[in-house]
């Protein structure tokens, strides 16, 4: 690949850490590290982050600590050609942030309407589980937004990616990773 193409594509393409910006400087971190170091979000609002963390954790235990919100937030801030999100192969039309805002908004609107004005992140674990089960089956009352089962698929995929799709995830699961070309950061 020529230098021009490299610039046109992704910085650090040969590395699998993500570039997080802090105070004008860039750091290559895994989403888990970015969360642990409290790296500021670039695209998602605090409420969207809360919803995404709660949703991710409900879908796949460990997703919040694995940095699902930092992963998605960082991915939404880069050009779509560079994105690693499953949204890319599910034919979601860029900019992907439009889908995420609509999806997270739909979750919270439905949660507020159906749960005594409480956002999804403020539901109990059992209530979250019930909500997601209804969303998966497209049965949430008054749902307005992208189809619930599709939101379930996309968000579940992101959570699976950060928990099970990384080298650390394989290691925690006890499954050999066997990379030809190893992602240089074990995220």
């Amino acid at each position: 690949m020529s230098e021009v193409e490299r610039r046109a594509l992704m910085k650090g393409a040969a590395m699998s850490a993500l570039a997080f910006s802090v105070g004008g400087s860039q750091f290559l971190l895994s989403p888990r590290q970015a969360r642990a170091e409290n790296i500021p979000y670039r695209t998602l609002s605090p409420q969207q982050v809360d919803t995404l963390d709660a949703l991710g954790e409900t879908l796949v235990p460990g997703a919040a600590a694995a940095g699902v919100s930092h992963f998605v937030d960082q991915q939404l801030s880069i050009p779509p050609e560079e994105a690693l999100l499953e949204a890319r192969i599910l034919n979601i039309r860029p900019p992907y942030v439009n889908f995420y805002r609509a999806a997270l908004g739909a979750v919270d609107r439905a949660s507020l309407a159906n749960n005594d004005n409480r956002a999804f992140a403020h539901l109990s674990a059992n209530e979250r589980r019930d909500f997601v089960d209804q969303m998966r089956q497209n049965k949430v009352t008054g749902w307005q937004g992208p189809p619930g089962p599709f939101v379930y698929l996309v968000m579940r995929s992101d959570a699976v990616d950060v928990v099970y799709g990384t080298m650390d995830g394989y290691s925690a699961l006890g499954m050999p990773y066997m990379a030809h070309i190893t992602p240089t950061k074990r995220w």
């Binding site: 690949m1 020529s2 021009v4 193409e5 046109a8 594509l9 992704m10 393409a13 040969a14 699998s16 409900t58 879908l59 796949v60 235990p61 460990g62 779509p80 050609e81 560079e82 994105a83 690693l84 999100l85 499953e86 890319r88 192969i89 599910l90 034919n91 860029p94 589980r129 997601v132 089960d133 998966r136 379930y152 698929l153 579940r156 995929s157 699976v160 990616d161 099970y164 799709g165 990384t166 995830g169 394989y170 699961l173 006890g174 499954m175 050999p176 990773y177 066997m178 990379a179 030809h180 070309i181 190893t182 992602p183």
Partner: protein, 526 residues
């Protein structure tokens, strides 16, 4: 807009068929330029990761996906050199003789203007050229005799072998899966190490993707690849009887005009007809080479009926290749399934990863939370999948057509309108049923169907070949009926799709077409 120096041939798309055409033409001494919309990937870019592997697929697509079963474009498509064959599974089954005469034999679908015998020598040639591992003799229970493959079959693993008893119980014979992978070192490319990362691009060259085969040969013979170059129009002369070159935007988004003696469209089944429609002129008001009105028509996709099985024993679910270990044509007769029509192609055993669309986290899409975590633990060593691919008949309503909205270059997007008919749905269901019968006979602890929306896999049609301009867009070589120096390559030429993986047949058809183009160059080139 700069006008560049004229070349003998410009090829739009550096995937499977474009790379092969480039190799044959440049070895014949032609000056060839390939224009590829995506990047010029190197093997070192192919990181072993499902997340990072998504980069070799398109993010921004110029299509609107419509119909009852919208086509799953991005997962199937390529972006960059190698095209979709940079991330393909490299299963190399052939089409069988019954695939070429569906209309004649069943009064359904369409006939190809050629027969299996016309293509057979090219299957053999491709195998010797890029390397195929398998047992040709074992396959000859279903097809005419041909040359042996240059490499022995790949290793098998328990995740494939556990299916054999169940398949035998319903009378399905399995043979080693032929693959475009190296079971032993081949032409300086190393043997496979069975780590299952084929689908994100094999960076050691053990898998025969175009970057290490035809495109490498083409470059060695002088072909030039211009990456990040998006073709927006095919240009014709005033009379409309010759193409003169193409207009494209280069990596700096600057418009260029590339004159050429021959234009070969090898940008996949959807993009080729879109470009030909966009290039309409007063001489070709419905799009280039479209007096038949069939440009963009008869789009087809495969679908799969997957069956999952979970065993108590460690079956090394992570080992092998992504493609398959065993295959069968025992349900390939078009009328194998009562109440349905079309061939079924069966594959058993493949390496499984955790995430992405094919990962085993999706084997139970209904699970989330702790039940999913528990399932992942149970499945990590004991899960395996059986896959039955089904054939869709050509339907004129499944089509590409231009849309009102435009892409970043101001060119119209296109719609891909796709719906499965009742035969395809019935065959899909019948294959699920037999999958469960087979799984039960394996003695698996748990088994279930991978049901969801009916998937769309591979893509065919849109520029079908035929006997004349009244019933098709090109002849059997890919030469358009109406513009002699405009050629089309790839699965868009296929009038029917069979049920088996298409890339080996794409290579064989392209090899035949490219050799024909060289042989009649003097009468074709503008």
């Amino acid at each position: 807009m700069a006008t560049l120096e004229k070349v003998d041939a410009v090829i739009v798309g550096a995937g499977a068929s474009g790379s092969l055409f480039a190799s044959v033409l440049s070895k014949a001494g032609k000056k060839v330029v390939l224009l590829e919309a995506g990047p010029d990937w190197q093997l070192s870019d192919l990181i072993s990761s499902d997340l990072w592997g998504r980069r070799v697929k398109p993010a921004v697509i110029p299509f609107l996906l419509e119909g009852k079963n919208p086509y799953g474009y991005a997962y199937q498509a390529g972006w960059g050199v190698g095209g979709a064959a940079l991330h393909y599974f490299a299963n190399f089954p052939r089409y069988l003789p019954n695939d070429f005469k569906v209309k004649s034999e069943h009064n359904r679908g369409l006939d190809w203007p050629i027969a299996y015998a016309d293509l057979a020598p090219y299957y053999d040639k491709v195998a010797q050229e890029i390397g195929v591992s398998g047992d040709a003799k074992a396959e000859e229970i279903w097809r005419p005799r041909g040359q042996p493959y240059p490499m022995p079959p790949m290793k098998t693993f328990r995740n494939g072998e556990v299916w054999l008893k169940g398949l035998e119980s319903v009378g399905i014979r399995m043979v080693p899966q032929p693959v475009g992978m190296n079971s032993v070192e081949f032409k300086g490319r190393p043997a496979c190490i069975y780590d299952g990362w084929c689908h994100v691009g094999c960076p050691i060259g053990a898998l025969a993707n175009p970057v290490v085969t035809y495109l490498a040969d083409a470059r060695k013979a002088g072909a030039e690849v211009r990456a990040l170059s998006t073709v927006t129009r095919v240009l014709t002369n005033e009379a409309g009887d010759k193409v003169t070159g193409v207009e494209y935007y280069d990596a700096r988004k600057e418009k260029q005009l590339q004159p050429a003696g021959v234009v070969i469209l090898a940008a996949w089944s959807a993009q080729n007809p879109r470009l030909m429609m966009i290039s309409a002129t007063d001489k070709h008001p419905k799009g280039l080479a479209n007096s038949s009105g069939l440009l963009g028509k008869y789009m087809m996709a495969h679908y799969a009926s997957g069956t999952w099985a979970l065993f108590d024993e460690d079956i090394e679910s992570h080992m092998g290749t992504i493609g398959g270990q065993f295959m069968s044509y025992d349900r390939y007769d078009k009328t194998s399934r009562k109440g349905a029509f079309g061939s079924t192609y069966i594959l058993a055993g493949s390496a499984l990863k955790t995430s992405d669309l094919g990962g085993f986290a999706n084997a139970r899409l209904d699970l989330f939370g702790q039940p999913l975590a528990d399932f992942m633990q149970r499945a990590k060593r004991g899960i395996t999948r059986l896959t039955a691919f089904g054939e869709e008949m050509p339907n004129i309503d499944n089509r590409i057509e231009l849309a009102e909205s435009k892409d970043e270059f101001g060119m119209p997007l296109a719609r891909i309108v796709h719906s499965f008919d009742q035969d395809a749905v019935a065959l899909w269901n019948a294959n699920f049923e037999e999958g469960l019968t087979i799984a039960k006979a394996t003695g698996a602890k748990e088994f279930w169907s991978a049901r969801g929306n009916q998937p769309t896999i591979h893509l065919f049609g849109g520029t079908i070949m035929g006997s004349g301009a009244a019933d098709s867009v090109t002849d059997s070589y890919g030469q358009t009926h109406e513009i002699p120096n405009l050629w089309v390559a790839g699965p868009g030429l296929f009038p029917t799709e069979g049920a088996s993986n298409p890339t080996y047949t794409i290579f064989a058809v392209s090899q035949r077409g490219a050799e024909q183009l060289v042989s009649k160059w003097g009468t074709v080139a503008g």
